[in-house]
């Protein structure tokens, strides 16, 4: 191919996408010719992971700025795709539609929160941090406020938030690998981890960038294709996003007709752990304004404080490109997020509408138990029915399902070929891997660049710095996998906590670092550590039976943490001396896009 790599990107990823579609078609033909479901699942996961590993190998580098910020030459649209993959985790892919299916409006605050946050990223932070020219988020804090303690505090907040998040992602790769490859979860976690490390170890940020673009393409095809296919097959409309109003209304009608019968506690004991019934209205407003808004607000501020997202905008060629790139990121995220409610609608209607051939409510228990897909998913511990009232017919309150089943089982319920289920597994794997890579890299880079190079050994040579970075990458990955293997907690709980931790400690120190010249070192340190401690305290307090206040729950504790952070930062800053002239000049320089970046190209 002529010309350099960057100019050829559209062509390269065009061929890649064509190749992937070709692979799907080959698998579909193989299925018709009698290939088993299990072989197809293995082929999908193995083939895609092999491609990512190949990209990771081809992106290997020995240069600091390629390793930390992909050489700052990632074009806007491609950086948008990489950010979208970085952002959309295994939870977004596998669990989000399920959350909407079960909890409706109250849960959809997450959709608003996880997109609205990008407005804050674009307007308050990303372009300014790009101008700063830092390698990591603590790099900005450390230089803007000065001093090792400020830098170190930022590393602490970053590590707490990102590590909370990464165990959930490794857990998700393990779950998918264990289902697709049919191996025990304890081993599958390490298979997932090795796949993750193959993408990032040799090429650092450069490797992660180009694998994330590839992973985005796989995950978006894997999410959208089934949604469109199911919608068409059900006759719900060829473009579901604009055409499901009747289906939404029909679900409301059926809810009225069936009613939400409350099950006795004794009956619910027999339901396997992790499964839930439909107890909330699909499209009605079922949460108070504050419950909705506080959750959305916490997620928005958390988005703007999570370092693995912010560092993606350090890789663009210019400040202007960083701004535009945030817009592209959100566009690519929008494609998936706006489809999740549609999938939830299609999934729910196909199960509960007695007029549809797939509907099971109103059928006899013997009939439901004879259905192939029910048997499969019941065996996989994701579906369960029990005749509580003993009338022999399945009622709405007698049907239970796991949240993951909405994404994983709906294609099979709707009668799509197995090749689609294999594709969905590959998509979920891509989503979880890409986020895990971004997070592990964020932590390892912060420790290797900010703690090792900037604080411990400022004279270290590039080769040694990158060796330390890679060793840390492996250590952090294994630590995450070990905790993930213990299966302490569900995927989504810990994801939301990560946002709260990040906003508690980093939101105001980052924003005020650009927008308030008077903010100084003492204030920033008080804000970071005080906010993190206050947020963590609130979480522990509520988890151990505390009543909480102002309706702030364990999912929104970041609102309390960041409020404490803001107050401490302002009060302490005003009580101590204002930043010196050089620092004030630095803030002025950050505020204009032109001119040299604050930190040199290689630092």
């Amino acid at each position: 191919m002529k010309g350099n790599f960057i100019d050829n990107l559209p062509k390269i990823y065009g061929i890649y996408t064509g190749g992937f579609v070709g692979f799907i078609i080959i698998m579909a033909i193989a299925e018709q010719m009698g290939m088993t479901a299990k072989t197809i699942g293995i082929a999908f996961v193995a083939f895609t992971v092999f491609i990512y590993a190949l990209i990771g190998y081809l992106s290997r580098t020995a240069q600091a700025d390629a390793y930390y910020v992909a050489g700052r030459q990632v074009p806007t649209v491609f950086n948008g795709m990489a950010t979208a993959a970085d952002w959309m985790s295994g939870a977004s892919f596998v669990a989000m539609a399920g959350g909407i299916y079960f909890k409706g409006y109250g849960y959809m605050a997450l959709l608003v929160g996880w997109t609205g946050g990008y407005v804050l990223v674009a307007s308050l932070l990303a372009p300014y941090l790009r101008k700063f020219g830092c390698y990591t988020v603590p790099d900005f804090i450390g230089t803007r406020y000065g001093g090792n303690l400020a830098r170190f505090s930022a590393v602490v907040v970053l590590t707490v938030a990102s590590f909370t998040y990464v165990t959930a992602q490794i857990n998700a790769t393990g779950t998918i690998a264990s289902v697709a490859l049919d191996i025990p979860f304890q081993y599958a976690v390490y298979v997932g981890l090795i796949s993750i490390l193959l993408c990032s170890m040799l090429g650092g940020m450069r490797g992660v960038t180009w694998t994330q673009v590839a992973q985005y393409i796989v995950l978006i095809i894997a999410y959208l294709l089934p949604v469109f296919w199911i919608s068409n097959k059900m006759g719900a409309g060829f473009f579901p996003h604009f055409m499901l109003a009747d289906e939404v209304a029909r679900i409301g009608e059926l809810e009225q007709q069936f009613g939400f019968v409350k099950n006795a506690a004794a009956d619910l004991k027999s339901v396997p752990k992790g499964l839930a019934g439909i107890t909330k209205a699909h499209s009605a407003v079922n949460a108070t304004p504050w419950a909705f808004i506080s959750l959305a607000l916490a997620m928005m501020m958390g988005t703007a404080s999570l370092p693995h997202v912010m560092m993606r905008y350090f890789t663009t060629p210019s400040v202007k490109a960083a701004r535009k790139s945030v817009g592209w990121s959100l566009f690519f995220i929008f494609l998936l997020y706006s489809s999740a409610p549609m999938l939830a609608t299609l999934s729910k209607l196909s199960l509960i509408d007695p007029n549809l051939p797939t509907g099971i409510i109103g059928k006899t228990f013997a009939e439901v138990e004879a259905i192939d897909w029910y048997q499969n998913w019941n065996q996989a511990n994701l579906m369960f029915i029990s005749d509580f009232n003993g009338n022999g017919t399945l009622e709405l309150n007698e049907f239970f399902m796991g949240g993951k089943a909405v994404v994983l089982a709906t294609p099979e319920i709707a009668g799509l070929p197995y090749v689609i289920s294999g594709l969905v597994a590959a998509g979920g794997m891509a989503a979880a891997m890409s986020t895990a890579d971004g997070l592990i890299l964020a932590i390892a880079n912060a420790i290797s660049h900010d703690v090792y190079y900037k604080i411990i050994d400022p004279k270290a040579e590039t080769a040694k710095r990158l060796l330390v970075a890679r060793v840390l990458l492996v250590i952090i990955g294994f630590a995450g996998a070990t905790i993930a293997a213990m299966e302490i907690q569900g995927i989504l709980g810990s994801v939301i906590w990560a946002f709260d931790f990040a906003m508690s400690g980093l939101f105001f120190p980052l924003v005020l670092g650009v927008w308030w010249k008077r903010a100084n070192r003492q204030g920033a340190i008080a804000g970071m550590l005080g906010g993190l401690v206050a947020g963590a305290w609130y979480l522990v307090w509520v988890r151990t039976g505390g009543s909480g206040f102002l309706g702030i729950t364990q999912l929104t504790f970041g609102i309390f943490g960041s409020a404490v952070s803001l107050v401490l930062m302002v009060v302490v800053s005003l009580m101590t001396a204002e930043p010196d002239k050089a620092t004030q000049k630095m803030v002025d320089d950050v505020r204009v896009p032109s001119g040299k970046s604050i930190l040199g190209k290689s630092h």
């Binding site: 959709l111 609205g116 307007s123 308050l124 808004i293 202007k320 409610p341 505020r591 896009p593």
Partner: protein, 86 residues
């Protein structure tokens, strides 16, 4: 007032407008979620439901691109836009 101060003044002005629009779509409309959901909105979905599925999300995408273009205009006006070779 120096050129740079004027530039920052305008940048801040744009920030406040952007955040005001952001506030409406992320917080403002959900203060009236229950009332608004009674009304049929775009494509036949209830209004609040539509906003949480698509409306607010799409508004954020458009808002960021609009913001980026306005900010570029401001940077050009004061001669602070980046040259390609930087």
């Amino acid at each position: 007032m120096s050129n740079q101060q004027k530039h920052w003044e305008k940048t801040r002005g744009l920030l406040f407008i952007t955040l005001a629009i952001w506030f409406v779509f992320s917080i403002g409309i959900f203060l009236f979620g229950a009332e608004m959901n009674e009304v049929t909105g775009p494509f036949g979905y209830p209004w609040t439901y539509w906003f949480t599925c698509q409306g607010s999300l799409g508004a954020f995408v458009i808002l960021i691109f609009w913001f980026a273009n306005r900010q570029e205009k401001i940077d050009e006006e004061f001669g602070f836009s980046e040259r390609e070779d930087e």
